[in-house]
Every structure is written in structure tokens, then in C-alpha cells.
């Protein structure tokens, strides 16, 4: 199979079929098999007269040859086939295979697990690269070691992601054949690029991880960093490709009103929601990844009494929490952009998400985000015990806590906006009865923005607690910082109350942008002012490891809440399509074409979260296993060789 020339093409198709399976080519075979599974539904209309082997052969051939000429030759093969203006299939209920249990539940669990692990293994290399770079720039080897350890504990995650991904693909093809056939038709050659990217990703993953110590210093380190960058590039590309399927289902593009493919693959990908989802998932992944590795550090911290190890894992946990919270702060803004684009695309879809059946879901979301913010803040406050300098800021903590709790309660105040008479009956009352002034959006916007501002304040005083500014203009800088906090919070309240309750709807909606802008001003100016003010500041002694055991539980709360929240947001993202596979184009006629209740969704999400925790435990266990060495039998019976 060593690169046969072009002349072999016909022969390869006709007579060399058996060779494909030879010599460890099974991944290609698998690929061809997966493809084969997808083809039958489209085959009838598009490729009459060609045998299965004939159709598969050129594809397999392309994969084997590799190299740059490959893709074009395959692309031509696809484009050469006539493309009739086929409408999207409209399967009837009998067209959906019945496996005895809910098909949607199966796909739900598997897809969500795939997303969890996908998010984790995309995020970890990203901040590992940043930490590694920090190590290079600061010449502090601790960073390098920690980055390596982060990679180690997530390494098995890549295999788990791939295995679950394969399972998901099989489940989808089996349970939703018509839908998948249509998606294949829309995205065409993109599927193969997607598969190819996994090989690229694996290559960089293994060279990056196993080359860590071989490429540790000098110029070689830069080679290593480049490998990390390419690993992230491949990962990110995989993510945005996969996102395009989800956003196509929500807001299809590149197809006609009946679903006939009219545009290129690129046009199908770049729907109105693609980039908002890309950004939202990108940021959320980082927060999620940080939270999960933080739990690892917390566990290691709690299970040792060795001061050196405790110091190390305390620092690791702190860094993880730092990553998680830092990524979490801009997330609502990305979410706002996404919601705004959804409203712009279809007001009806937006209202279904925010004001219809799903409105109650945002109460649960408030509980989850509240948990995340409270845990993150609590961890920061606990961490202030590491330095003596923190006494200067301790007095602020009780005010921050008070604001957090009040805002949290406001945010949770239920509001209802009614969709139909049936819901009125179900909910047992008309909207006005429950609807208090605290239950509607402006109040919630105030609460969320204030929570973000004070969380940033926690973060800022924590960062300041082990430093004393030495620049001459420090008092002026502080004066500005205090003024910015007070005025920004006043502005957030003013915008919410005045435009939210005393002007019309358009200004009400517009004022939330104003609130978000105020919050961003606080964050950006806080980072900028402190960046300059604490340049060359006097450092107070700080003691890693000197933190309460209780604080570590915040690091467990964080990933649990994050995981659950991701599951919940998956539920709403998928549900806003209501009874459509592809919104406005392909109806979902399966038995599961209704939006499940929030309770059912909650149970599903808990199931997936618990499964995820179990898999993550396995992943950590494997990571520890690699550092464990059984002592020689001749030695004493005592076990040794801890990591």
C-alpha cells in the first residue's frame, strides 16, 4: 500500500479491494464503514448504477494516498455527482426505529457525555499552553511541571472523547437515519475533514505530551510550544466544525426553504448563530476545564499532610479556580450575544427560550450560576488566609457576601410569561398573580451584573492582598477604582430601574447592553489600573498550603455546578427548535418530538453528570496509575511509590 500511482485507480477499484484491510489500515476501513452507513439513504437518488464498492473505492483511495492532492480529488468526485434539488426528507413516525426505550434519551446521554469530554480535552491544552508559556517567560519551572501534570491527568480524556463520539455517531445513524442522511447531504465533504482532523489532533497530542521532557529547554522548548499551538488549532477547528451542525439545526443556512441544498458547505456552516455559539462554547470550555482539574487538585490536597505537596496542590487548585472564574465572568456577555442573535434570527425562538415553556429553566440556571459564584467567591475569601496582607481587605468580604446573597435571591424570584391556555391551566394561575416587580427581567439584569461586579471585586482584593503598591500615584489610582465601582454599580441599578420600569420595551432591552457595558468597564479598568499600580510592588510573604480544608469543597462544587449547567443549557439549546430537527425545514415526527418537562430534563442531566463524574474518576485514576510502580516482590510487603 505504499502510495500507488494514479494509473492504479481503476484497478484499485476493481481488483484490489482485499488489500484495503491489510497492514493496519483499519482506521480507514472504519471510516469507510461509517461512510457506508450514511450512504444508503442518499444512494438511491444520487448514484444509480454504481455498486457500493465502486462508490467507496475512490474515497478509500484518497485516504490512503494522503498528501495535498487528496482533498481536491475527492471534492471533485462528490461535485461530479449530479445534485438534484432534493427537499429535506419528511419522515413519518414509522420511519423512526423503535428500540423500546426513548431514542432521544439515548442520544441525549451519549451526546452530552461527548460534549463534556470534548469540552474538557479542548480546554485543558489551551490553558496548559498558556501556563507553559508563563513558565518560559517567568523562568519558573513550577509552571512547567504543573502544565505537564494538567496534561497528564486529562490524557485519557482524549480517548474517552473519541470512543463516546464514535458511539454517538452510531447511535444517531441507527436511531435517526433520515435526519443523518440529510445532514450528510448538507455538509458533504466536511465530514471527512472532520475525521481527518482527529488524526491531526492525535498526532499533535501525542507529540506534545510525550515530547514534553525531550523538548524542554532552549530552542527546543519553542518547538514544543509550537506543537501545543498546533494541537489547539486542530482542537479548535474540530469544535467549530461540530458547532456548525448544531447551529445549522437551529438556524439553517445554505439551503432553500424546502431544505434543498443551494449553497456551499461553507454557506451551510456560517449560519447566523455559528459564531455566537463558537465564542460561547470556547469560553465556557475553559471555565469547565479549569473547574474539573481544580477538583483533582482539591482531592490531592485533602488526601495528603505533606506540607510540600499541600503547597503544590493548593497552588494548583488556586490556579484552576482562577482559570474557571476568569473564564466564567465574560460568559454571560457571550450568552447575551447569542440570545440577541437568536432573537434577531427568530423572535419566536427567542421567546420560546426566555418567556415560554422554558422560562422556568432560568430559575434553575440562577441556582447553578449562584452556586458557582458563591463557591468561587468563598474560595477566594478563604484563600486570603494565605497572606498577612489580606487583613487590609477583610472588612469588605461581608458586604460582598451580602450583595451576592440579595442579588441571588432576586435572580431566583420566579417570573412567568404565558404561552398558551394549556400552560395557564398547568401552572394554575394567570401571569399577574406571581409576577412581582422583582420577577421580571430588569431586576434580574441588575442582580446578575451586580453579582459579576462584586465577584470581580473579590478577585481584585485577593490579588491585591499579598502586595503593597509603591508607585507614587497609588492613592489616585485607588480613588479612581473606588469611584468606578460606586458609579458603575449605581449606573447598573439606574439603567435597570429607570429604563426597565419607566420607559418602553425597546429602551428596556437596550438598557441591558448598558448594564453589561458598565460591568465590562469595571473589569477592564480594574485589570488595567492594578496592572500598572502593582508593577514592582512590594510583595508580602504568602504561604501556599495555608488554607482551610473546608475551602477545598468549593473546588468540588464548581465542576459539579458547571457540569450540570452545561447539561441544562444543552437542554434549552436543543429545545428551542421545538418540534423540528432542522428548524423550519425538517420536522421531527419521532415519538420524542415534544419538549420534555424541566423535571425530566433535570433527572437526565443528573444521570449524565454522575456518569461524567465516574468517567472523570477513571481518568484521574489512570493518570495516577502511570506514576505508580509495584515494589519488587523481594522487598517488604509495604506498598510504596506514590506519585
Amino acid at each position: 500500500m505504499m502510495g500507488p500511482g494514479r494509473g492504479y485507480r481503476r484497478m484499485g477499484r476493481a481488483g484490489r479491494g482485499s488489500v484495503w484491510s491489510a497492514g493496519g489500515r483499519w482506521p480507514y476501513l472504519l471510516l469507510a464503514l461509517m461512510l457506508l452507513a450514511a450512504v444508503p439513504a442518499m444512494a438511491a437518488g444520487t448514484t444509480d448504477g454504481l455498486s457500493v464498492e465502486e462508490r467507496i473505492a475512490p474515497i478509500g483511495r484518497v485516504q490512503v494516498e494522503g498528501g495535498p492532492e487528496v482533498a481536491p480529488s475527492f471534492g471533485e468526485a462528490v461535485r461530479a455527482e449530479p445534485e438534484p434539488p432534493l427537499a429535506a426528507p419528511q419522515p413519518q413516525r414509522k420511519d423512526y426505529p423503535d428500540i423500546g426505550i426513548s431514542s432521544r434519551a439515548v442520544v441525549w446521554v451519549v451526546a452530552q457525555m461527548h460534549l463534556f469530554f470534548g469540552a474538557l480535552v479542548l480546554a485543558v491544552p489551551l490553558f496548559v499552553l498558556v501556563i507553559e508559556l508563563t513558565g518560559v517567560l517567568t523562568r519558573d519551572e513550577r509552571y512547567d511541571d504543573m502544565a505537564h501534570e494538567f496534561m497528564k491527568i486529562s490524557l485519557v480524556g482524549f480517548s474517552i472523547t473519541a470512543i463516546i463520539g464514535g458511539t454517538l455517531a452510531l447511535a444517531l445513524f441507527m436511531l435517526y437515519p433520515d435526519f443523518m442522511a440529510y445532514m450528510m447531504r448538507v455538509f458533504r465533504v466536511q465530514w471527512l475533514w472532520y475525521a481527518l482532523l482527529f488524526f491531526v489532533e492525535s498526532f499533535f497530542l501525542y507529540t506534545y505530551y510525550y515530547g514534553w521532557n525531550a523538548l524542554r529547554y532552549g530552542n527546543r522548548k519553542w518547538v514544543h510550544l509550537t506543537l501545543g499551538l498546533l494541537l489547539n488549532g486542530a482542537g479548535m477547528t474540530i469544535m467549530v466544525l461540530a458547532n456548525s451542525w448544531a447551529t445549522f439545526m437551529m438556524a439553517p443556512s445554505g439551503v432553500s426553504e424546502t431544505g434543498a441544498v443551494t449553497g456551499t458547505v461553507w454557506e451551510a456552516m456560517k449560519g447566523p448563530l455559528w459564531n455566537p455559539i463558537n465564542l460561547h462554547r470556547f469560553i465556557a470550555n475553559i471555565g469547565f476545564g479549569g473547574a474539573v482539574v481544580g477538583a483533582y487538585a482539591a482531592f490531592k490536597f485533602l488526601s495528603t499532610r505533606d506540607p510540600k505537596l499541600r503547597a503544590h496542590y493548593d497552588w494548583m487548585g488556586y490556579t484552576s479556580n482562577f482559570i474557571a472564574i476568569l473564564a466564567f465572568l465574560p460568559l454571560p456577555f457571550a450568552g447575551y450575544w447569542l440570545m440577541a442573535e437568536i432573537y434577531a434570527y427568530s423572535q419566536q425562538m427567542g421567546i420560546t427560550a426566555m418567556g415560554g415553556i422554558l422560562a422556568w429553566l432560568f430559575i434553575v440556571q440562577a441556582v447553578l450560576i449562584g452556586t458557582i459564584l458563591l463557591a468561587g467567591n468563598f474560595y477566594l475569601w478563604s484563600g486570603m488566609s494565605r497572606t498577612e496582607g489580606s487583613v487590609r481587605y477583610q472588612w469588605l468580604v461581608k458586604y460582598i457576601a451580602a450583595i451576592l446573597v440579595i442579588c441571588f435571591l432576586t435572580w431566583m424570584t420566579p417570573h412567568t410569561l404565558i404561552l398558551s391556555a394549556k400552560e395557564i391551566a398547568t401552572l394554575g394561575g394567570s401571569h399577574h398573580r406571581i409576577l412581582g416587580p422583582l420577577g421580571i427581567m430588569p431586576a434580574k439584569n441588575i442582580a446578575v451584573n451586580l453579582m459579576l461586579v462584586v465577584t470581580f471585586l473579590s478577585f481584585q482584593i485577593y490579588r491585591r492582598s499579598d502586595k503593597v503598591a509603591t508607585v507614587s500615584w497609588a492613592p489616585v489610582g485607588n480613588a479612581f477604582m473606588v469611584a468606578i465601582y460606586i458609579v458603575a454599580m449605581a449606573n447598573i441599578v439606574f439603567a435597570g430601574v429607570y429604563y426597565g420600569y419607566f420607559t418602553n420595551t425597546v429602551y428596556k432591552v437596550g438598557s441591558s447592553v448598558l448594564q453589561v457595558a458598565s460591568t465590562l468597564v469595571v473589569i477592564v479598568s480594574g485589570l488595567t489600573i492594578d496592572g500598572f499600580m502593582y508593577k514592582g510592588a512590594k510583595k508580602l510573604p504568602s504561604h501556599w498550603g495555608r488554607v482551610s480544608n473546608r475551602s477545598q469543597y468549593a473546588l468540588f462544587a464548581l465542576p459539579i455546578a458547571f457540569t450540570w449547567l452545561m447539561g441544562l443549557m444543552g437542554y434549552v439549546r436543543s429545545s428551542v427548535k421545538t418540534y423540528w430537527h432542522v428548524y423550519t425545514i425538517m420536522k421531527d415526527n419521532s415519538p420524542d418530538n415534544f419538549i420534555p418537562t424541566i423535571g425530566y430534563a433535570g433527572n437526565m442531566i443528573t444521570l449524565v453528570t454522575v456518569l461524567f463524574v465516574l468517567f472523570v474518576l477513571f481518568m484521574f485514576w489512570i493518570a495516577n496509575l502511570s506514576g505508580t510502580r509495584q515494589p519488587r516482590p523481594a522487598a517488604t510487603g509495604v506498598e510504596g511509590g506514590a506519585t
Partner: protein, 49 residues
């Protein structure tokens, strides 16, 4: 802190100045952010038009 070098009066002045500057900044921000959304405001921040 180095604030001692500045004296109480100067410190107060610095705080007042900072407040005025920041209030003006946010006032401008309100007009700007609402303006670019096509929602102009009157000088007293009430909706215009």
C-alpha cells in the same frame, strides 16, 4: 501606604476629582451605548424621540 505623603486635603481632592471624572465618563457611556443601538437619549438621560 504612600498616601501619607499627599496629605488629607489632597487625598480628598483626588477622590472628588476621580468621582467627577468617572461620573462624566459613565454619563458619556450611557449616551454612547444607547446611541449606537439607535436609542438616543435626552441630556437628562430620558429617551429621546
Amino acid at each position: 501606604m504612600t498616601g501619607k505623603a499627599m496629605g488629607k486635603g489632597t487625598l480628598l481632592a483626588a477622590f472628588l476629582l476621580a468621582f467627577v471624572v468617572v461620573v462624566l465618563f459613565f454619563y458619556g457611556l450611557d449616551h454612547l451605548v444607547m446611541g449606537i443601538q439607535g436609542l438616543p437619549l435626552n441630556p437628562d438621560l430620558s429617551p429621546a424621540g
